[in-house]
Symmetry: C2
Subunit: 344 residues, 2 copies
């Protein structure tokens, strides 16, 4: 394994780094230029260079938090709503809902109209974590720095809370999407979101992932797992934003391809961080994915190969944005770099 | 308990019984007229008397089966789709989707337009059974005469198959509802269905039910559990049909109240059958609900009181149908009687 000894970075950005958003992630923006595994993302284009991602994400993240908080009031029965709130309001970067808002903005959509979709995407993402952590699935004990849902509320409540989050996602979309969004757009986005999350998407990735534990899998299966398990929902987050925001077919298609790259990037970076971080923290054992024999990019491509792949994904995501006005595309442009350079 | 020694019937229908639908359920149409616990439902009204429920249900049930079969093709990954199909296509009376079709018909809607909703309701109902049977929830071993889903596919796959059925339900509605149904109607019905199934509906009932095991609960809590756990989804099945079929607000409201009665009736009959059947079959021990200390109607009202209540519910359901043309209302009229007189 290439994990041990590799620097704890995925990618670095060449050129001037603007705003504290990137400076806050020092370990992935490697300041040691020496190693051969450092790959450079091209400097931001002039139009995007003045954009401050941290301010952008903080403002939208705050509104997403407010909307999520309001979406799950602590009504009776208290237990189910507490369990839902526990995981849904546990923080996190809210990258998916922010992608939804940013994609809508890019095609000229308003934020209020698309917020129910942004919330729905986060509900579905959260639900997948709650069910993934169940003892009978992936047996996760901690999530977002807190005990996993089932360890606080019990397995039965965790099953039901996950289910309830899915129903809430669709109820929220159907009941709350602002009246001025044409309902056929809402239905089209519902179909995209449900397909991306279901047995032909996220859940397909989860089941193949579970089945591939302790097996040798090739790059094709690995890519399938990651595209399905992670990228599809991220893609749907952006696509729903683009559809509800009123994008034309060409715009929706480009945003979809952009988001597919970002989704895969998410997983490559996850894999690299998991291998690196754990190797560093524990000194001797590799990350959990490696110990349970799960397919990962570092295992298959090595650390250098994984970084190279991540670099390509950033580039491809930027190519998809090239057809849009550069200033309006700046949030998505920087979001891809944020995903590449994040450290957790 | 009043269970032992009580005749194995819930209700009997006075007057001429038409069609083999009722004759096929001999044990609930008690032929021994002697006991004081036999309660009579009034004879069918003249307009409804010529209606043959069995033919009606067989025809619609067949088309529901075909639609469900087509909704979950055996695509890869085979495991998740096999698990979904195993439970979804395991038979059953399909009372919920037939209610959806019948409610739509009553207000003049076409069958094709509402079929995706009928399928979605059955997917959600099936999913609730799959998750309910999980060892960490209610630990059911058998369902519809076959081993429970998790006993065939494993717990993790059963969790994921249940999740996937929810996503499929909403994808199916959004992608398949016929183009001539106004999309705002579809959204309204989606909101009803999702709310009925979620943490303010079916799942609320499930969590309170789990929490009330081995506790003494009063009639209010019992009614809450049953309204939420069983009646809400049955209500939503009918309401979705009425909305998509184009019913006006008054019609939707009356069909909703009708279905609430039928939903409760479903549960009362379930409870009575569970207590009676098990007492008969095992000779000494009461039904499973009683052994795990769950609240049931026979426990709370006694067998005679439960039958009396069921009788009232049939009557109330019929009152809600009185405002409709009697001939068009015949299917819903007889469906309520079918639910009252079923034996499994």
């Amino acid at each position: 394994m290439a994990a041990t000894g590799a620097p704890p970075l995925v990618l670095r950005t060449a050129g001037r780094l603007r705003g504290p958003s990137l400076r806050r992630f020092p370990s992935v923006i490697d300041t040691r230029r020496a190693t051969a595994t450092v790959l450079e993302i091209s400097p931001p284009s002039p139009a995007a260079a003045g954009f401050d991602l941290e301010t952008y994400m903080a403002a939208r993240g705050r509104r997403v938090e407010e909307a999520l908080e309001a979406a799950v009031p602590l009504l009776p029965p208290a237990k189910i709503h507490s369990a839902m709130r526990y995981s849904l309001l546990a923080g996190g970067k809210r990258v998916r809902p922010i992608l939804t808002l940013a994609a809508s903005e890019l095609v000229g959509g308003g934020e209020a109209a698309v917020m129910p979709f942004a919330c729905a995407v986060e509900m579905i993402h959260t639900m997948s974590l709650v069910h993934d952590d169940l003892p009978c699935v992936d047996d996760g004990h901690h999530r977002r720095g807190r005990p996993a849902n089932h360890r606080v509320f019990g397995d039965a409540a965790a099953v039901l809370a996950g289910d309830a989050l899915i129903f809430l996602a669709f109820e929220h979309i159907a009941a709350r999407t602002a009246g001025d969004v044409p309902p056929e757009r809402i239905l089209r986005a519902v179909a995209e979101l449900a397909a991306a999350a279901g047995s032909g998407g996220m859940i397909a990735g989860q089941i193949v992932d579970l089945d591939s534990e302790r097996k040798e899998v090739g790059r094709e299966v690995l890519e399938y797992i990651h595209v399905q398990k992670t990228a599809r929902l991220i893609e749907a987050a952006a696509v729903a934003g683009a559809i509800v925001g009123g994008g034309n077919d060409g715009e929706v298609e480009r945003i979809k391809r952009y988001a597919r790259c970002v989704g895969l990037l998410f997983q490559v970076v996850d894999d690299v961080l998991d291998a690196t971080r754990t190797a560093e923290e524990l000194g001797k054992t590799a990350g959990r994915d490696l110990t349970v024999g799960k397919a990962t990019y570092p295992k298959l491509l090595g650390m250098a190969g994984s970084r190279e792949f991540a670099c390509q994904l950033v580039k491809r995501s930027e190519e998809e944005l090239a057809g849009f006005d550069a200033e309006r595309a700046a949030p998505l442009y920087h979001l891809a770099r944020f995903v590449a350079c994040r450290e957790h």
